[in-house]
Every structure is written in structure tokens, then in C-alpha cells.
Amino acid sequence: MKVRALLGRKIGMSQVFDAKGEVVPVSVVQAGPCVVLEKKSAKGKDGYSAVKIGFEKAREKSVNKPDGGFYKKLDIAPLKHVREIRVPEEQLAEFEVGAELNATLFEVGDVVNVVGNSRGRGFAGVIKRWGFAGKRMSHGTHQYTRHPGSVSAHSWPARIFKGKKMPGQFGNVRKTQESLTVIQVIPEKNLLLLKGPVPGGRNSVVLVKTSPKKWKRG
């Protein structure tokens, strides 16, 4: 299977009709244009094969000296978002440093994974974070409506099990949404319409990647 990947931005969600006339919920992702920045080969000093891609031009002043030098050597305008994609050694020849990748990398019917940071909800309680039911609002309940209740028993096990669902940071973690079907590709605007939701809020950066489990095309 060939690996294909693009960095993009989540635009938001919308809906389209399929051939049967049924509504399909879609995430709109502006995928690319991305630039190939570096190829790493298992035979070279890196010891593994990968391709580095970048997305969106960065402002001159926000690029630090070492990075600036890297781009200067390539004679490419500095880019804001850079990711390394593991690519099999035999596929490396397909990529060329400086080449532009765009949404046409994917076709309708392809199955992809989308990686992004989920929306951060801050320090959330158990109702929001884990879907706990909470307590009743009346009949003697006093300031205990959103509490988690008991977290364990007393003399046995006399401890709290690891992984117990408790309040804490919710969201703003790297999430992978697997197996999303490409419903439509709009090359003029580099848009991909993917069936179903993708992690993150509007305008968040996401990585669209071939799904290793469900990919059908070569």
C-alpha cells in the first residue's frame, strides 16, 4: 500500500446528498497545498524512510535561525506546519523535494484517517468528561448534583483502581479519527469532503492520511 498524506485545515461540517438522495454528513477539510521538504532513507544516515511535508507559509519573523537556514538551503519559503510521514523505502522515489502536493492525491471512495488535536474543554468534571449521570436536583440533594459519588470501597480493595474515571483535563489531545470515506474532492480549492466528524475545532490543523486498515487503491 502506498502512503499518502496531506496537512490541512478543518473548515467545518456540512452535508451533501449521495446518489440515492440520502443526506451524508461531511467534514470539509482544506488539504494542502503541501510542499515536500525532505526525504529520509533507511540507507542514509537517518536509518529509516520518511518524507517531511510542510503546510502554509510562515511569516519571516516567526521562523527561527536554524529553521530559516534549512529553508534557505532548499530555496523554499518557510512553512508554518511541518510533519514527518513514515513512507516505505520503495515509495520514496515518488516524492521530490520542493514538489507540491494537493488534494488530488486522494480520490472519491478512498478511506483515510485524520489526525488532529481534539477541542480542549479544560479541567472538566465527570459529567462532561465521562458522561456520568449526576445526582437528582431536588428531594434533599444538597450541593452534590455533579459530583462523582463513591470512587471505591473501604477495607477491600482499600485503594482506588488505576484508570478510575475522575475529573481532569478533557480534550486538547492528539486524536485519530479512523476510516473516513472521501465523498468529494474539490481540486480548485483543495477541499476534501470526508464522511463524518474529524478532531478539533474550525481552522484547526489536521493530518489526512491513508488508512492502513481500509485502503483499497494501490
Binding site: 473548515i11 456540512s14 451533501v16 446528498f17 438522495g21 461531511v26 482544506q30 477541499l191
Partner: protein
């Protein structure tokens, strides 16, 4: 955000009349009857749903409208996507005078009380 507004709008239907809340409409929906044997082709036939538009949700490509009718004494409401390709045609029977955009109050009314008064829209009078 502007890009998002355009997505799905290519399937927008220009051929359908403008629906307003309070209208009495006939919606002709394409019903696909699946083939019983493999030789048959699936048959497409129109089915009519006539009632009052009690709500119109304007949400770009996701816009819908809700039609309510009373069938054998039972209130039936159907939500149609505004741009659905399954809608064959829409006939507007009449425009009614309404004083709000969401006619949910019709749900609690029966018979004569649930009637709406017709209004003629200026452009139609000129015709």
C-alpha cells in the same frame, strides 16, 4: 466560513418554488420501490404529502422545512431537506396569514381551530 457556505450548494434546487412558513403545500416525493426479482428494475413513483409548512430552517445546504397534516385524526409531520433530490416537485396551494415563523401552536389545535386564513401575495394579484 465562506468556503463552508459553498459546500453542498451545487446540489441546490433552483426549480422549486420559494416556500414560506404558513403555506399550504403539496410535496411530491420520489418513492423507490425495490425490485422484487432481479429482472425487474426498481420503480420510482411520486407520493404526495399535503399540509401546512410549520417551520423552515435556513441553514445553507442543511436547510429543511417541516410540513404538518392531520391524517385520519392523527397529526403527521414530515421534515424535508430543502434541496433534497428526492423531492420531485412542490406545489404551493395557498399562502396563509401567519403572525409567527414557527407554527408549533397548531399542534395543540384540532379541526376548525387549526385553520389559517389565506392571503394573496402582491405579485400574484398582479397576474
Amino acid at each position: 466560513m465562506d468556503v463552508l457556505k459553498e459546500v453542498g450548494m451545487e446540489s441546490r434546487r433552483q426549480d422549486l418554488p420559494e416556500i414560506r412558513y404558513g403555506d399550504t403545500v403539496r410535496v411530491f416525493v420520489k418513492i423507490v420501490e425495490e425490485a422484487i426479482s432481479k429482472k425487474d428494475k426498481p420503480r420510482v413513483r411520486p407520493q404526495m404529502f399535503e399540509g401546512t409548512v410549520i417551520r423552515r430552517k435556513n441553514a445553507g445546504a442543511a436547510s429543511t422545512f417541516t410540513v404538518r397534516k392531520v391524517s385520519y385524526g392523527v397529526g403527521v409531520e414530515r421534515v424535508f431537506p430543502l434541496f433534497s433530490p428526492r423531492i420531485e416537485k412542490i406545489e404551493i396551494v395557498k399562502h396563509n396569514k401567519v403572525r409567527r415563523a414557527r407554527l408549533y401552536y397548531l399542534r395543540t389545535l384540532r379541526g376548525k381551530a387549526a385553520r389559517l386564513r389565506e392571503v394573496r401575495i402582491d405579485s400574484e394579484q398582479a397576474e
